[in-house]
Assembly symmetry: D2
Homo-oligomer: 422 residues x 4
């Protein structure tokens, strides 16, 4: 018989505080809350082994409670060494009896040990945020793949990786790209990342944003959320892009569009949100203004080339908890926030619960969908079923107290006709 | 031998002024200008009969010049009775020798007579803006369909109609949905309609927008352009929708979302941009504020139920060129702009040339594509080839003097890999 | 006996159209409308000779009707050769029997002849917009000064000139600076000039504002209105200033602040709103981008050094009614709108009626105040009495249907106390 | 001989962290930094006894270092029981040897005991933020008033109280209203309070602002800063006012203006910034939405009637550090942040250093001005000398790397002339 899954958390004593914060978040998650009530009755995941590699936040805790209420046998590990909220991890274990392995500021070895532990749970369904769990499972435990019914993936970066796996034939079970649900990526990538990234930067530095030159690398959904909010706080926003269409959009939205090498010379802040590697690199460090504050809102800590920065620095120093100052030979000091990891999850609390409500409602419904239909799906990356997306949108509007109009039969039929003209 | 196509314009004497304005627009259309030069050398449309049913504006004139430079045998008619610029029509005929049939404020009979004339040109390629030409051709001249290689369609409404035709098997030749090119609908529907609709409303009324309640019906690309610009001019913007996802987006973008019946009570302005019928109807007229200004930015003049309004009115009156005031029995006066036709094309000059540059660059390149490949395409609605879209975006950026970054090989390969993780 | 004052207008046949437009504007001027009704009963200006040098617009016509209803014997002339609306002038003379001398596009000789005619009316009260009437009267007709009870001045530039006159002892009668009323300069200089300047630029050029670099010279109330609206239309706005405090504000408001010489190199649009001379001058023309569009929203046509531009130009050309293109020797073409005169009044219709409502309510109330108290006032520039300003604000809110809160007695007394602390 | 002033701080062990944070802030305060260097040479405050009642933050610490460097004998106490940063207090005492009495969360008794201690220092100059020190000194220690040369006051509320004292003849020494310097109130009240209030609310609650109804009570400089930033974060902002002029401005700025009783029914957030008492009161609690989050950015904790709220509540609960939930009999839960004290200083770190740089540069220069000229000033509230304000603005621009234009002699003389007209 499989033994009880291990747990590894910082301090069980934080559970009470974690519980309070998890309940607080639940208030902002009415859609997930309704799903949880329904699942508690219908038990659609009864007895299913699930391993979830997610940011260990208050919102994730509410997703975990929902899966557990549905009958799942669940293990959680962190999808980022800096994003764990230790009080939440404690409450998951102590209060909600959900095995969790996650410690804030853990090192890479510990990080992968925890993923290993989650894999040893022999999951039938996986939840991932960045595809570290899926990729580790495929690379190191091919023997367990046959048991897996399917998985879900939360974030753009993970979907990019999974598509690469699928293209090369490496992916061995179906994964639903929850990230691509409209009610997910249009909301948490834009409004969630927007607010929380600025929140992270302000908490980390307490610097006035108004009047500063604020460069956003990448004008995808995350990037445009950050650009919109930085402007909303009074910054002069510069956008850098590699895609001509997005560059045009940024320009028409009133932003300056510059190559990063030029932007770096005038920026007070630089934030990356590209999903790619070494966006900010040696040649940019060389021309930056003294005091420039760099941070990353992309999934991995590779967007800023930190090894190159360290190699250039005469010395470094940590004046505030999430700030490292690197002093270069020419006397300039460059500042890096949260060691280049997701600044919104490290220095602030991640996406506000109100947006995660939609993402995690999609997650919960997709997991139930996999439980029911996963065996019929091919080993590929799948879209979220349209009716799930639509259901989440309608439930969210209702929860916000917003009514909208409905097409009349005449209007419906007009949209389908082509004879009626000018 | 086919006789020289007829022309029908208001006043040939306006040609000089039209020529000036067409040249002025050309300055803002560098991408189309470059295509025109290339086509003049390569003559990709040599001898091809083309009928185009488009808004007769300065920008369209530059598209027509481009097609003619490419060797086409072209006839133009209007796609809307109010959007014709008579000086442009005159210049097309007198200066550029392009047969044109279009007169501003023409009645419906004249409008369809002009479409008939364009059809009698026996087109091999059609260009449409709203699908009136295609639908008329299919309904009334099936004998000419076999000669047609293909067509293009400029606007959302037309694409909706064509898709309906294709679904029902009625569509008999391939049509490229130019509207769906990213460099088209992301730009002219948003930035073009946004600016020009507000421009039309202000020219028509000269009313201060700041401090007014301004309701936008529909939060598609046009609607969000209008909402963004109305807010930019200081209005309190309200959005109405039938789609829950878009309603959520509007709400997160900071707009009030209301059912129209509620919005109508508090609105100083109501603009429709839905592509559907009778959005603003009797029950809304009944509750509107005295003095409410209604206008439409959707393709057809059916979005506001004008017959119902007329039936309710005690009398009407035209205090300014594009304003009709309808006085109801209870003494309230409701104002309708431009007879409910596209306010941006009727009361202002339509999309600024800078956005039409991209739309019409796509048109020109798609027409050339049809000339080369049309016979291989099925009778269906087709997407704009991705490389055309991309080429337009790159050329536009260059013309705007904007440089962007390029992925390094390392970055390209990172995006394709999945092994590298946290 | 004084003979009936002369009139000089373009075309009496335009009166009907002018009347329609004046009535249209009246709908948006509820505060002035209420004053007019009251004045018609109380006749506070009975028999008083008034000369008014104002922009001849629909809103001014409603002010003139108000003064006439109050019993005044009124003559109107234009305060700018390009701002006259000929249909309004016609209606003033033909329909409302108010002697008016003003013709759009009149030359300087005609302009001053009209001022002379207004002076020959031997005014007891003067209304001015830019202080041309006051300054001409003082310089050339000192013999008439003793009859004058007082005057009002509408605009910043006029107030600056009058203060200079007062400082040097040249001013011989009291003038109320209506411009400095909060309900005037906070509203028409900001929201009025903002919207109408952009309106003028767009009507003159039909160029897309989104994505353009748009430079505003001067961050006073007019300048910040223009900057706010240009941003609202999607421009990248640059501000130039000479005042460090305003420069700081512009920067904190998220605008780039540059010296004009630097801004000129990157601007697609440059608008002046400074009240000073030769802001845009030879050295700026020398570095401007090809195609740069220059316009002025300041009172006089001196802010752009047009003689210097003409001297540099190889040739000039008028492609659209309000656009002059100057081609320089190096091939660049610079564009000047409305001959450097107020672009909002020349190429568009000036401030929307809703803001002029407040300005002209102040004017009407100040003229009545002068009639009653003018003889007690010293020959100096005077503030608008605070209760007039407050009355206008309250009446405007009521007309807009907006209710606000009132201090409770407890709150009033708290504001007056100092003992209650932490 | 006067004995060494007492100190009272939470924990001397926090000094090292406080020192780091104080130095970090200093980087953002280049203007104050330059003054400090100059004062260290010129010693303008040599031997002067100064008592300062200010928020004990990193920025205040840098002001204190500046005064000390100038030779002052300085004692500091807190101007608010919740705004003290204990690590800063520790560093002031331990590292910078500046006697300080301030403990976060101290009760009212302790708060006034500390003010007493500061008064027992027998100040020759006072610095105040809210006028608690001045008012306590006048009420309870009239015997010490004759020694006082003068004082400065930092905030609107304090200036209102001092004006009330001056009007009633109670004020016995001159006080400079630093708050009224343009470089102070235009910046820290608007940009500082704006960012930091939103920062405080987000840190306290982690709730998404986008899509929420966010009501700001008061449209003074603080209120408009908060409204601007809440909109910038995607909220639908409602403004309440008692002043008709400000209400009009808010409306023209695109905000809904409502009486609070109406706003309360629809608000997700309510923030007060009025300087007055019981703005949010029983009748508002009675109609609020379940879950409404209330906070205060005005100086004192009287803007929300907390006793009335407590009296209505069935029970209360603290789910997060700065949140108290009050459950009413009808089941609704209302949330109050930071016990109704300044949310930006309690739940976040107060104004960012970049704005305090200007406020405190004014403070430092005004204290030096008092030392030199205070004896010539009357016992009244005085404006900051204009050249101090201007010097601060210029130095700030320079520090930000922004160059601006300068008037040419021709332009200077044009502004002074009145002869040159149309």
């Amino acid at each position: 018989m499989k033994k009880k899954p291990a747990t590894d958390i910082k301090d069980p004593g934080l559970a009470a505080q974690g519980k309070e914060r998890i309940d607080w978040a639940l208030h902002e998650m009415p859609v997930l809350q309704a799903i949880k009530s329904r699942f508690a009755r219908t038990r659609p995941l009864q007895g299913l082994r699930i391993s979830a590699c997610l940011h260990i936040t208050t919102e994730t805790a509410n997703l975990a409670r929902t899966l557990k209420a549905a009958g799942a046998d669940l293990v959680l590990c962190a999808s980022n060494p800096l994003s764990t909220q230790d009080d939440v991890a404690a409450a998951l274990v102590e209060t909600f009896d959900i095995p969790t392995l996650a410690i804030k500021w853990e090192d890479t070895a510990s990080y992968y040990r925890h993923i290993e532990a989650a894999i040893s749970h022999q999951p039938q369904i996986t939840l991932d945020d960045g595809a570290d769990l899926v990729s580790h499972l495929h690379s190191n435990h091919p023997e367990l793949l046959s048991q897996v019914i399917g998985g879900t993936e939360e974030t753009t970066t993970g979907v990019i990786r999974l598509r690469a796996m699928a293209r090369s034939g490496a992916l061995k079970y179906p994964v639903i790209a929850v990230n691509d649900a409209f009610t997910k990526h249009l909301f948490d990538n834009r409004y969630g990342t927007g607010q929380s990234s600025l929140d992270g930067i302000i908490r980390a530095t307490n610097i006035l944003i108004a009047g500063k030159v604020f460069t956003v690398c990448g004008y995808g959904w995350c990037g445009r959320g950050i650009a919109m909010r930085a402007r909303g706080l009074g910054a002069q926003v510069v956008v850098t892009e590699v895609n001509p269409l997005r560059a045009l959009e940024a320009s028409m939205d009133g932003f300056r569009v510059l190559p990063l090498l030029e932007a770096a010379r005038v920026s007070d802040f630089i934030v990356t949100a590209t999903g790619d590697k070494h966006i900010v690199d040696k040649q940019h460090f060389e021309v930056m203004k003294d005091g420039c504050v760099m941070s990353n809102s992309g999934h991995f800590d590779v967007e800023i080339n930190i090894p190159a920065l360290k190699a250039m620095a005469r010395n470094s120093h940590r004046p505030r908890t999430y700030v490292d100052e690197y002093t270069l030979d020419d006397g300039r000091t460059l500042r890096l926030l949260a060691e280049g990891r997701l600044v919104n999850l490290s220095a602030a609390e991640g996406h506000p619960a109100a947006v995660m409500d939609m993402s995690f409602a999609n997650q919960a419904l997709c997991v139930a969908y996999l439980a029911r239909h996963g065996k019929q799906l091919q080993a590929d990356v799948h879209a979220v079923p349209a009716d799930i997306d639509d259901e989440v949108a309608r439930d969210k509007l209702t929860a916000m107290g917003i009514s909208i109009d409905t097409l009349t039969p005449e209007q419906e039929s007009y949209l389908k006709s082509w004879q009626e003209g000018t």
